[in-house]
């Protein structure tokens, strides 16, 4: 089943508290252990983007309002500006 939406995580705000990862009902999110944010945290990222339903729970529980959620089909990188 294709993804119903996607989330974008602002790495300036994300503090890797893992609240979104714990609460995501589809286990979409994980910490990106290969990168560090400017603040020195491993930011959350979409590990399983195809499972996202854009339900919005991650944004509701995020203490730093780092998450933007879109419903629909994500434009391919070429189409993005």
């Amino acid at each position: 089943m294709p993804a119903k939406g996607w989330v974008e995580i602002n790495e300036l705000y994300c503090k890797a508290c893992e609240t979104c990862i714990t609460d995501c009902p589809s286990q979409v999110l994980a910490l990106d252990m290969s990168r560090l944010s400017p603040k020195g945290y491993h930011p959350a990222f979409m590990l399983l983007p195809e499972a996202c339903t854009a339900c919005g729970i991650c944004a509701v529980v995020c203490p730093d309002a780092a998450i933007t959620i879109y419903r629909g089909v994500r434009p391919s990188p070429k189409e993005e500006k």
């Binding site: 203490p63 419903r71 629909g72 089909v73």
Partner: protein
Amino acid sequence: MTDSDVKLVYQRPAGFDARTTHYCPGCTHGVAHRLVAEVLEEMGELHNTIGVAPVGCAVFAYNYFSFDFVEAAHGRAPAMATGIKRTLPSKTVFTYQGDGDMASIGMGEIVAAAARGELITAIFINNTNYGMTGGQMAPTTLPGQVTTSSPKGRDVERQGYPIKLAEMLATLDGAAYIARRSLHDARSIRQAKKAIRTAFEAQRQGLGFTMVELLSICPTNWGLNVADSRKWLADHMLPFYPVGDFKVNPAINAAGGN
């Protein structure tokens, strides 16, 4: 696929300024800030609001909101908010206070403001300790809870019992809406947002003093990770501090509040 098929479900509210907060990872102060910003944005009050910051972890709250904010002396936010609201009655005025600020040094101010029925809203963050100074025992610390100044657990024989501020303020005639909510999971956070909305609406209607107590986590000072802190809140704080509405002015229900 065109862009019109894409719908924005959620984005950072305009009232929550575009900068990183100083709070520890997972701290629910951020959630409370966000809810206040969302509610004021939905009510169209962003340009008509003055907040009053406390002393405590939220002492820099004025940095994180895009609307006007002032800083009060320790515990004196309700007194300052009283002055602002009486001078500028058309403004939405709220205080944002922690348990050390409101339930300890500021107990006199909050009780007096509620008793006078001041048309202000108080957002009360209860995390059962003094977060900023290193996790000392607060008036809200649970019986038996270990803090840096009660290393063997709060002994109610020596240190007394915790203060349930929401229940206490609900006994005052000046209070229009007194509620307690929790911030430990998505469902509770949604209910907290509704309560904050109801409180601000009651203020706008001029019904009296309003307060929303928000049960919060303090992972750093509790010595737990964020997931365990949220579980600790649900297991220990919720039985002692039940969520609910403790005082609801009948006019709120008549106006279709929750």
